[in-house]
């Protein structure tokens, strides 16, 4: 049995332990150490992409060992096409968020330890194939994120951190009851009760009524995380208060844990629940798309605008998942990755000017394209990718989702398409107000253009924005079989 996946999950934890030995005084050492750990983790995870066999829907690189045998809990990791992309997205964003942390100066040691532990939690969530193990990672990741928002965040950080924690906790505890119920109602011949995901899919036979309840319990936990309308209210607070790097992780990876939860657990395990809740989920997804976009339009704070745009973009993901055909689900998956890249980059970009001017209000800028031309160019590319311009990554996902949804639920597709238009409205309008026009504010005249470290964090993302936009097949090939299998599971 290889320990490849375990290494990927726990390299950041080891790094965090090493951090305890480092001196707290030297900021430079700490930054470099964090960067090195994240880079090692990324490099270790990278060969997965080539070694992964896209012709099978089976889990690969599986690791299994008993953990608490008397309770039937196993340590069980594995990877399929769906988790492959998300794991790589996570390890890819790791070094980038370290680079994006240059504005953080307070308690740097604790900051990077939190960040590394968070990385372990997220990777573990994407790789767990044991419901109990999944739950542990899902919960454990709350604590470092809570600290990232609460210690290094903005003025209202405590409120935001506690809200984030309690919201997530309430949802996940109900899921825990669901997990327990599953455990006691799944019997593997010769073994007994199990938390094992693959065994549950094979042997579990829940009644239609039970599936409704179970789906509801799981869906609530995941809906809060996604976040779906109307459970999204924690997100703007958390985003606005979190430090830049925290926002990048939050938008880039954490929210994906919610959508991943649907695709991995809630939908394949409870197909009857999906059938019953499908209209509701589609409706909420569309409301999320339009509501998120409308609220974005009126924002005066750039970070809040991007935060609400996440609600809208993740509405697309949910729409694609519940449209339940090959194109829509593929689109949803690509959109998950795209949103991680584009929105992550947007948060980094907002952070760039915030570090210089300590304001995120749109009204405090205007005409800065003349003093920061390179910044404006990068911002435009990322912004257009978020709008969904053909040739950039955002288009691929949204197009596939709308195409797929139109086949099964045309009305929802048409309504959702307005979201694309609204996205163009709020993003382009913001862009115009920030970058064009007269350079009215005196303070903005001395703004410096992008620095080396900022380039270092943005360029890799730009590469993938173009790559996915121009030649998505590299990534689509990896997921096709897994998605076909997924649809087979849900729609049987």
């Amino acid at each position: 049995m290889s320990i490849w996946l375990s290494s990927i999950v726990f390299i950041p934890t080891l790094g965090a332990l090493l951090f305890l030995l480092l001196p707290a005084r030297s900021a430079k050492t700490l930054r470099n150490a964090a960067l090195v750990v994240m880079l090692i983790d990324f490099v270790v995870s990278l060969p997965l992409f080539w070694m992964f066999d896209p012709s099978t829907s089976k889990f690969q690189f599986v690791e299994q060992a008993p953990w608490v045998p008397s309770l039937g809990i196993n340590y069980h990791l594995g990877l399929d096409g769906i988790s492959l992309l998300l794991v790589l997205l996570t390890t890819f964003l790791g070094p980038i968020v370290v680079l994006g942390s240059s504005a953080v100066t307070k308690h740097l040691k604790g900051y990077f330890i939190s960040m590394l532990l968070l990385q372990t939690g997220m990777l573990g969530t994407f790789l767990s194939l044991d419901l109990f193990l999944f739950y542990i990672f899902w919960e454990v990741m709350l604590i470092p994120m809570y600290f990232l928002i609460g210690i290094w965040g903005g003025v209202e950080r405590i409120y935001a951190a506690v809200k984030f924690f309690i919201y997530t906790m309430v949802g996940s505890l109900l899921m825990l009851v669901g997990i327990l119920w599953i455990y006691f109602n799944t019997t593997v011949p010769g073994i007994g009760h199990t938390f094992d995901y693959t065994q549950i899919l094979r042997y579990a036979d829940f009644g239609a009524q039970a599936q409704l309840w179970l789906f509801a319990a799981f869906a609530l936990a995941f809906a809060i995380k996604v976040p779906m309308f109307p459970f999204h209210t924690w997100l703007p607070d958390a985003h606005v208060q979190a430090p830049t790097a925290g926002s990048v992780i939050l938008a880039g990876v954490l929210l994906k844990m919610g959508t991943y939860g649907y695709i991995r657990f809630a939908m394949p395990m409870f197909p009857h629940g999906v059938e019953t809740f499908k209209p509701l989920m589609l409706t909420l997804a569309v409301i999320g798309i339009i509501y998120g976009a409308m609220v974005s339009i009126v924002q005066t704070d750039m970070k809040k605008l991007v935060a609400y745009s996440s609600v809208s973009h993740l509405g697309f993901v949910m729409l694609g998942l519940f449209a339940l055909n090959q194109q829509a689900v593929t689109g949803a998956l690509i959109q998950m990755v795209s949103h991680g890249l584009s929105t992550g980059a947007l948060f980094l970009l907002v952070g760039v000017v915030y570090d210089r001017r300590h304001t995120r209000l749109i009204a405090d800028y205007g005409g800065i394209a003349t003093v920061m031309p390179k910044y404006a160019a990068v911002f435009m590319i990322v912004m257009l990718s978020s709008v969904g311009l053909p040739g950039l990554n955002g288009f691929v996902g949204e197009f596939l989702i709308l195409l797929g949804t139109y086949k099964t639920a045309p009305v929802f597709a048409i309504l959702a398409a307005t979201g694309v238009i609204l996205a163009a409205v709020y993003l382009l309008w913001m862009f115009r107000r920030v970058f064009y026009g007269e350079l009215v504010h005196e303070e903005n005249k001395g703004l410096k253009d992008l620095k080396g470290i900022e380039w270092a964090s943005l360029l890799p993302i730009l590469v993938f924005i173009f790559w996915i936009g121009i030649y998505p097949s590299t990534f689509l090939n990896k997921v096709t079989v897994s998605i076909t299998h997924f649809i087979g599971q849900v729609a049987h």
Binding site: V68, Y135, I136, E139, I143, F165, L173, L174, L180, W181
Partner: protein
Amino acid sequence: MFEQLISDMHVSRMLPEILVLVVALAAILVDIVTPAGRSTRPVQITSIVGLLVVIASTLFVHNNGPAFGGMVEIDSFTIFFRVVLTMLTIIIMAVSENYIQLVKIRIAEYYLMLLFALFGMMLMTMANDLLIVFLGIETMSVSLYALVGMSRHRESSNEGALKYFLLGSFTTAFFVYGIALLYGAVGSTNILDITVYFQRTGMNLPIIAWAGTLLVLVAFAFKTALVPFHWWSPDAYEGAPTTITAFMSTAPKAAAFAAFLRIFYVGFGEVSDGWTTALWWIAVLTMTVGNLMALRQDSIKRMLAFSSITHAGYLVVAMLTYDVIGGAAMLFYLVIYGFMNIGAFLVAIALNRNEDDDRGYDINDYKGLAFRKPLIAFLMMIFMLALAGIPPTAGFFGKYYIFSAAVKSGFIGLAVIGVLNSAVSVYYYLRVVVTMYLKERDEKTEGRIFWKPDMAFAVIVCAVLVMYFGIAPDQLLKVATASIGALW
């Protein structure tokens, strides 16, 4: 003939209990030979060493079976609690010396009372007869009344002791009356005879047997501070010297639950339909009321006092499943709860500004503690997360196991109420973490920190165990399951 009688009593099976009494006597002698006015350190050391011998005798001398003509039963359940209770007592004693010097208690009776309480508790866990339970409860309680009131010059200590004593006397009355009624119906106070009686009657009990059962239930609800019989506990907990509060919220509670379990699982098992319904409501009330009260506290000590009511509610959830898993979950939780709660109380002691001032435990004293004393803050965070039931601490596994027992036995509604309560409790435990880690330091609220080596050692041991049982709970689960097996 007399020798025959002695050997039938199997006195040797109670060796650990006898040793506890010997230790107590030795401690008295040590106190007598120590010059007056000097520290009570010799008494402390005698007691701790003695108790280590007690643990050794429990673990290495195997002599199970009934003793005193079936009045007590020594089985794996008894042994489990003997070890746990003695360990908790040792921890409390180990940190007490510096503390009682600080709060000017300075009398050897402090340790003696702890030893007598321990003897009473051990008796409770092995009692196979309602009268022995009564004896054990009284021995324990009388020692505790004295311990609560030991800060004689402090008003709240006297108040707490008096309230505790008065309400404890009521409980005693309930309990004795219940025993009398049951005796009237059954003709015996031995729980095995009671079982036989209930097997014959089934649920068609005469009214006096029901009334007797109910009164015994109420008495136990008092002793374990379940809502609505919890009124004594916040005042007694607040008034007591804080080491004693830590003790009371763990060891005596565990002992009371042990007796509760044995009496109801073995003795009243046949009529479980009756008492599980009552406990269902008690569990819901206890979890919820404890939580709502704890939410409003600004004093760490009071917050922990109320939250210990909530934790008793979780234990009742496990108990009312009337199932091996539920029982094992209870045993597991009692152990880890002991360590996390004592740990939290010890940190509270370390930070208390003024024992005589009721605001000595104000949460504002914790502002920015993480940047002032990172180690203490980190340890406290572990205890808070464990009490809130967040992985990877043992607190999570404990709660998980309890709710899994509830779900297995079909109490899904109760499990949902339980987890929601658990989510509420996150708020006030997290508040401590917020204050330590997210708030800035505030010079005005920074008092002295009472962090002696003995204290540091005990707190670290508690924290390590809380983390260890969170990551590798398997052994303890197996021991707990084997121990509860003795009741079936």
